[in-house]
C-alpha cells in the first residue's frame, strides 16, 4: 500500500494537470448522462476509450513515472509515446467533444461557444488542421524536442520540460482528431484516403529518427549522464531502448490507426451504397 502511495504521489505536482484531467472527466460524465437516446450518446466503448486515455495521460504526468522520465532516456520516450500517441488517440477515438460541451454549465456554454465560433479561433484551428501542417507539426515537434541542444535544456529547466510535455499532448489531440474524426468529408472530416496518406507520411520520419538513436554508437543525449540516471544502467543500453521505443511502437500506432480509419471508410461506403439500410442501423445504435 505504501509503495502504491509513493508511486501515485506526483514528483512535480502540477495543479494544472490535475484540474484539466478532473474537469475533462466531469464534463464527459455529466454530458454523456445528460444526452438523450436520440443524440450521439457515448456507449460503453467510448467511455472505456476516453477514461483509459485520460488516466494514462494523468499517470505519465503526475506519478513516479514522471520522475523516471526526467532521469532515464527510455522512460522519457515511453512517456512521450503515451502523451503524443496512445493517450490522445484513445481520447479522440471516444469523440468526446459533443458530450463534454453538453456537460458545460449554461454560463460557461454561453461564454465559450462564441469564442470557439469566432473567426480568429476558427481560422487558427483550420490552419492547424490542414493535413500538411498537421503532419508537419506532429513530426516536427518530435524532432524539435529531440534536437540534442534543445533536449538538454528542456531536461534542465522545469518550465521548458512542462512546455515540452504540454506541446506534445496538445499536438497529439489535434493530430489524432484529424485521423479518427468519425465524420466523413461531406460532414467536415478529412477524406479517408488523406488520413491513410498522413499516417504513412508520419511513420517514415519516426522510423528514421528512432533507428538513428537506437543504432548510434555514441551518446546522443548526454543530459542523462550529466544529471544522473534513476538507477545504474549502461548509457548506451538506455539509448538503445529509447530509440527502439521512438521507432517501433510509434509506427505500430500508425498501423492501428490505419485499421480504425479503414473500418470507418468501409462503413461509410456501405452507407453510401444503401442509404436506407444504414439509416435503420444508425437508429438502432
Amino acid at each position: 500500500m505504501s509503495t502504491f502511495i509513493a508511486f501515485m504521489t506526483p514528483y512535480d505536482f502540477s495543479p494544472t494537470v490535475l484540474a484539466v484531467c478532473l474537469l475533462s472527466a466531469v464534463l464527459f460524465v455529466r454530458g454523456s448522462l445528460a444526452m438523450g437516446p436520440d443524440e450521439a450518446r457515448p456507449g460503453i466503448w467510448r467511455w472505456l476509450s476516453f477514461f483509459v486515455g485520460l488516466i494514462a495521460i494523468y499517470v505519465v504526468m503526475q506519478t513516479r513515472i514522471d520522475y523516471y522520465s526526467q532521469h532515464m532516456f527510455w522512460v522519457h520516450r515511453a512517456q512521450h509515446l503515451v502523451l503524443h500517441h496512445t493517450g490522445p488517440f484513445l481520447l479522440m477515438l471516444a469523440a468526446p467533444q459533443a458530450a463534454m460541451a453538453r456537460g458545460l454549465p449554461h454560463f460557461a456554454h454561453r461564454l465559450l461557444v462564441p469564442v470557439w465560433r469566432s473567426r480568429v479561433v476558427q481560422a487558427a484551428y483550420r490552419f492547424l488542421q490542414h493535413p500538411i501542417v498537421a503532419a508537419g507539426l506532429f513530426v516536427g515537434l518530435i524532432y524539435f524536442w529531440l534536437m540534442p541542444e534543445i533536449h538538454f535544456k528542456a531536461m534542465l529547466s522545469l518550465t521548458r520540460y512542462q512546455v515540452m510535455n504540454w506541446s506534445m499532448l496538445l499536438d497529439g489531440l489535434l493530430f489524432w482528431w484529424l485521423i479518427v474524426n468519425p465524420n466523413a468529408r461531406e460532414r467536415g472530416g478529412l477524406g479517408f484516403g488523406w488520413r491513410i496518406l498522413l499516417l504513412w507520411a508520419i511513420t517514415m520520419p519516426q522510423i528514421v529518427l528512432g533507428a538513428y538513436i537506437a543504432l548510434h554508437h555514441s551518446i546522443v543525449y548526454d543530459v542523462y549522464n550529466v544529471c544522473g540516471r534513476a538507477w545504474p544502467i549502461s548509457p548506451l543500453v538506455d539509448q538503445e531502448i529509447g530509440g527502439l521505443i521512438t521507432w517501433i511502437p510509434t509506427s505500430m500506432m500508425s498501423v492501428i490507426a490505419a485499421v480504425v480509419v479503414l473500418r470507418m471508410w468501409l462503413r461509410d461506403s456501405a452507407r453510401r451504397r444503401s442509404p436506407g439500410a444504414a439509416l435503420v442501423k444508425s437508429e438502432l445504435a
Partner: protein, 203 residues
C-alpha cells in the same frame, strides 16, 4: 525615369541602417564568451541546508559574495568524482589568489558511508576551497530535485560494496547565488579557469 535613381540610394540607406542596428544588437547581446555551457536563468537560485565536514550547518546564504560551484558525488567513486574534483583543483591553482572567491561544494549522495570524518579527509586532499557536505535523504532530495539531477544506489555485493549512479554536472553560480554555468565531466581545467575568472571579475 527619375524613379530608379532616387530609389537606389534609399535602398542603400535602409541597408546601412540595418547593418548599424545588427552590429549594435550583436554588440550588446554577447559581451562575454563562456567555455562551459551557459544556463543562466533556466534554473532556480542556490538554496540548501546541509552539514559540512566539521559537523556544522551550512546554508546557501552563508556563501553570498562567494562563487559557489556545486557538485554531487561520493567518496568511494572510482572515476568521475576524483577526476572532476582534480580538474577543479587544477583550475583553482591557475586562478592564484583569486581562487579565494570560489567555494567548491562537494555534496555526498552516499551519506551512509560518507561520514563527516570521511568527507573531511577526502575534500582536504583537493584544497582549502573545497567543502564536503552531507545531509539526510530529505535534504539531499530537495537539493538534487531543485537542480534536476538524481542519484541511485545499486545492490550491495558480498563485501557490502555497491555502485552509485549520480550526476556528473558541475553547477557554477555567481556571487548572488544565481545559476550561470554548467560544466560536464569532459570540460578541461582551463575552461573552468577562464569562466571562473570572468565570474569573479563580474560585478
Amino acid at each position: 525615369m527619375t524613379h530608379p535613381k532616387t530609389r537606389a540610394p534609399r535602398v542603400a540607406r535602409i541597408a546601412g541602417l540595418v547593418l548599424v542596428l545588427l552590429t549594435a544588437v550583436s554588440g550588446c547581446s554577447s559581451p562575454q564568451k563562456w567555455d562551459l555551457t551557459n544556463i543562466t536563468g533556466i534554473m532556480p537560485q542556490l538554496k540548501f541546508t546541509l552539514t559540512d565536514q566539521d559537523g556544522k550547518t551550512l546554508q546557501a546564504s552563508d556563501l553570498r559574495g562567494k562563487i559557489p560551484v556545486l557538485y554531487f558525488g561520493y567518496t568511494n567513486c572510482p572515476d568521475i568524482c576524483p577526476t572532476t574534483l582534480a580538474t577543479l583543483a587544477q583550475a583553482l591553482r591557475k586562478l592564484g589568489a583569486e581562487a579565494n572567491a570560489v567555494r567548491i561544494l562537494f555534496v555526498s549522495v552516499d551519506p551512509a558511508r560518507d561520514t563527516t570524518a570521511v568527507l573531511k579527509s577526502y575534500v582536504q586532499a583537493f584544497g582549502p576551497q573545497f567543502i564536503g557536505l552531507r545531509g539526510d535523504q530529505k535534504e539531499l532530495r530537495y537539493l538534487t530535485k531543485r537542480y534536476r539531477v538524481t542519484y541511485g544506489l545499486g545492490k550491495a555485493d558480498a563485501h557490502g560494496n555497491y555502485e552509485v549512479s549520480h550526476s556528473s554536472a558541475v553547477f557554477v553560480f555567481d556571487r548572488k547565488g544565481d545559476v550561470r554555468l554548467l560544466g560536464r565531466g569532459t570540460d578541461p581545467a582551463k575552461s573552468y579557469t577562464h569562466d571562473l575568472k570572468q565570474l569573479i571579475n563580474d560585478n
